[in-house]
Assembly symmetry: C2
Homo-oligomer: 589 residues x 2
């Protein structure tokens, strides 16, 4: 009884202490005395990277950057030795120079506001950098992959330099997304053909200009011949021709090219969309310069709440690769749903060995909102990305514990809620391997009957679920599109048969009758109903957990999250009702 | 009385506390609790350099490097804001790869030991780096300007990389001295002609190899066509041809070439040696690449205890320039004499505006000796070099106070001794502008009658003092060699007449009769006697001061310095007696 009374008193104190919580401080709520008690020591006997060793309140590292990382690790209670796993730990900001953010749900860009000459919010960008550095992020792409050629004009490069100057002390390099057609679009050349000497020269000079301003500039990220962007195909050249030209321009300065494999509807138009990346790139394996890195999304489609891993990670054996993860929740409830993404990324790493990758990039969920990410719990995904980029072996549980300890001070069921949230989202949006049932363009909410004749078929939900009287699902087995052939063994064989395919990917790879018997004993249609309902009831449970946690949480954040949880429940119900209503019209006879 | 008693007690405690002082800790004797109480904050509103602002125990800076500098500044008691004056703050180690050090008086090299494959003393090099960083030094040339071509072989470059990896966290870039004939000497080409394409290619590839190992490699230091070293003259090319070829190889990576102007006996052989640098380089002004920096010694001859400033700093108006100072006491008593060099360097800056320079380099006095520099007080010159490289406006007094506070904890007359020591050395070695009266080759001790027919005349003392029955001194006025013409006004006119030439440079610029009347009213010969004797009596006074300071100084360092002071007195007496004896044979009739 005494213990409980003390707990109540402590809770009372904590709830008072946290009166002015608007989320702006992220996970950096240390008081400054905590900083003072840490001793930082450079130690030349440590391994040569930015890792650290913590013994008590003493941090040792081989580099200044390691001491910085170690300081924050010490503040969050780490002990012992830790080293960064991936060399490249990069945030991709899909920020447009007009200040808007593609797939951004937390306000406008912290970097851009439509004018290259307006002053930066240096203090805000500095806080952003501290948050990134505190979790080991060491690179940032400042603009959208659908890149404006204007980004490479001197006016914008001068602004990039200013940003780089703020990020540099935190060990964060800047990168830029570039439009492949830039020299032509800016009127400097008549073509953007990568084999044209004038085009070459333009890019070489541009690289020189950039490095004069930013000697540690990281490099370029390129979306080429994808969704309307210009690229080497426009001139009958290959992705290797295009990437290598840029790589040669950056090479003297140590810069890299991150070339995205997210390409479909180009040379292999008509083929199953999830197969096109491998079809586009497999023949080019071995043809890329050593400072080109192929950047591929974790799944072969497009950042769905669940996808099997992208087989391009199996197929490119001589090419450096990195994974592109999406922190911003384009397809996972955007700014409204509480979905902790660490379990999704851990699932990816269970298929794609981290040792095959030189880095990971995460599409950022950061904007001008007071709490940075729109949803207070969306901060946890920024945090989780950084932690997994540092060490993909850390468990989701540990990341959730760490983050909760740094932000809400109490767990009281919140960790369980976070860990269950992604599976709940899959359940209420697209269970059993269903995918891309989203409303057009904005990707919020369900549209299972979605079909527009004027749109590419690959953008239409009906193309993906293929529900009809006979059943539901996309046959990608060797009897269908043959996408399973792109996987390495044993996955190629396992995925090819409904009997051995994991149920979570069932309708991704197979078209099955409504009365197909699932592992639970229920028919496929019954199992779909069960899972959609389970997703909704999970969110109901999250609301209950949040209600119970109220005494331990400051009022402002509690209210804001509570409102979003109710919106999430409403959306989950909509997903369930819309999808079961639509699919039921085929299933129930 | 009470106050005095307390002083004695405190002194007693201090003398006990300092029982294990061997000088190995340099000026870094902070206890670790002092470190803990300092808060470091990155502040994006600070100016964009490695400066810092200190308020109480809070250090703010724009960069991590600034925080590091600020931490040490805070530890030595600084408050307020400070920014680095020179961009390049470099130590030049004249270390040979066999481990010996040219003009080194403190043991062998901390970097090299004759084998490229033996393990480094990483802990020692790390301590060296901390000491450098604590005073703002940000670059180090790892090898002698009389450079072995072997330094550029892969085996040695791998070792350079290891050293760079240790220095990098402290913000210190590595540079290398290179032998201009390297490609030929290593058998890769038949020539080292800077206009030969194969030679070009060799250097380009070498730069590429270096930067692959060391992405932040600083650049090359070159002694070409000087004292037997190969250079572009060997192929009928100019210094600009040579420097620019190397600069082009380093340019893509941001590297620089420091090209020494210390050239004599080449194209302008026979001309007054102090004039030859201007004669060699003046016509090339404007022909150097923008990453070439001309590195010139502070004086036009060679690191004498006193020289007028080198007029090349006046003559090269379109060329980037840096000054080369000598920390190691080649001509100032080497490892045995207590000579604090800050006043000498301040004298230089009073003639050559620091704003004309992009950096300063100091020839290091560091070796494997336990106390790093041979003489405990020689550490103060390493310290002073760093502090003046950071801010040439700091006074010699302040530097001496800082250093004494960090090393001996008590001043008790020591500051006055340090501040008087350079003038004393000038007095007992070469008063009134006399110069280069040193024993051949090793430059320790006097040899006023020095002449060897087989040596270049410019190496012989008699060439410099020109003592004869008519008088003494080197007529460099317009009636003599005309060296005064190389100076900007008003110095050109002032130096040209004995009446207006400062007496400290009198015999540098003029040959004057023994009965010439000096400002004191004494004849020149009487004034020489007076000054030689004053130098000796100054050292006698230093011994007395040191004796009085004994209660406040640990026994080991006291004994070691005391022994050296007695050696210094002996040497000063030898200088006086030898020189007055020799000159007296002409003066006294």
């Amino acid at each position: 009884m005494k213990k409980y009374a003390l707990f109540l008193v402590l809770s009372f104190i904590l709830s008072f202490k946290a009166h002015a919580e608007d989320g702006s401080r992220l996970w950096l709520r240390y008081d400054s005395t905590a900083m003072k008690s840490i001793t930082l020591q450079l130690d030349p006997a440590m391994p040569l990277d930015d890792g650290y060793r913590i013994e008590g309140r003493v941090v040792k590292a081989r580099t200044q950057q390691g001491l910085l990382y170690g300081k924050y690790a010490c503040l969050r209670g780490e002990q012992g030795e830790s080293h960064p796993y991936f060399r490249l730990r990069i945030l991709n900001h899909w920020d447009n120079i007009d200040g808007s953010i593609e797939r951004g749900y937390a306000g406008n860009s912290i970097f851009w506001d439509g004018s290259p000459s307006s002053p930066l919010n240096a203090q805000l960008i500095n806080s952003y950098a501290e948050a990134c550095a505190s979790i080991g992020i060491n690179g940032t792409v400042l603009n959208n992959v659908n890149a404006s050629p204007k980004m490479l004009t001197t006016a914008y490069l001068n602004k990039v330099k200013e940003i780089a100057d703020i990020l540099r002390p935190w060990g964060i390099r800047v990168y830029l997304s570039v439009n492949f057609g830039s020299p032509k679009a800016l009127g400097a050349t008549r073509t953007a053909d990568p084999l044209n000497p004038q085009v070459h020269r333009w890019w070489n000079n541009k690289a020189k200009e950039i490095y004069r301003l930013i000697p540690d500039f990281g490099g370029f990220l390129v979306k080429a011949n994808s969704e309307g962007q210009p690229g080497p195909f426009d001139y009958g050249r290959t992705h290797a021709d295009g990437a290598n030209m840029l790589a040669d321009a950056l090479k003297p300065y140590g810069g890299i090219v991150m070339w995205r494999s997210f390409v479909y509807g180009a040379k292999h138009k008509g083929e199953d969309r999830v197969m096109q990346a491998v079809s586009e790139f497999a023949d080019l394996d071995g043809q890329f310069r050593d400072n080109v890195i192929l950047q591929s999304k974790n799944g072969p489609l497009d950042f769905q709440p669940r996808e099997p891993y992208a087989p391009i990670f199996d197929q490119m054996k001589q090419t450096k690769q990195m994974a592109e993860l999406q922190i911003t929740q384009e397809y996972l409830g955007q700014g409204d749903h509480l979905v902790f993404l660490a379990p999704m990324w851990k699932e990816f790493f269970s298929y794609v060995e981290p040792s095959r990758l030189v880095g990971i990039a995460g599409v950022a969920n950061i904007g001008l909102d007071t709490n940075w990410c729109g949803h207070h719990f969306a901060q946890a995904n920024w945090y989780a990305f950084g932690r997994l980029a540092w060490n993909p072996a850390i468990s989701s549980e540990q990341i959730a514990s760490e983050w909760l300890g740094l932000t809400f001070n109490e767990e009281c069921g919140l960790k369980g809620m976070m860990l269950r949230s992604r599976e709940a989202c899959v359940d209420y949006m697209m269970p059993l391997g269903l995918h891309h049932i989203f409303k057009f363009d904005h990707h919020m909410g369900p549209e299972p009957d979605g079909f527009k004749a004027e749109y590419p078929l690959e953008w239409c939900p009906v193309y993906y679920h293929k529900a009809d009287a006979a059943g539901i699902g996309f046959d990608r087995s060797t009897r269908g599109t043959g996408a399973t052939r792109q996987y390495r063994e044993p996955y190629s064989t396992l995925y090819d048969s409904p009997a051995t395919c994991p149920e979570r990917y069932l309708l991704w790879f197979h078209h099955l009758p409504w009365d197909y018997r699932t592992l639970s004993g229920r028919t496929l249609w019954e199992e779909m109903q069960y899972r959609y309902n389970r997703g909704v009831s999970e969110v109901e449970d999250f609301i209950r957990i949040w209600q119970e946690a109220r005494p331990y949480i400051d009022e402002q954040r509690w209210q804001e999250v509570d409102a979003k949880l109710h919106k999430q429940l409403h959306d989950a119900q909509e997903w369930r009702d819309t999808c079961l209503g639509y699919f039921g019209s085929f299933a129930v006879r």
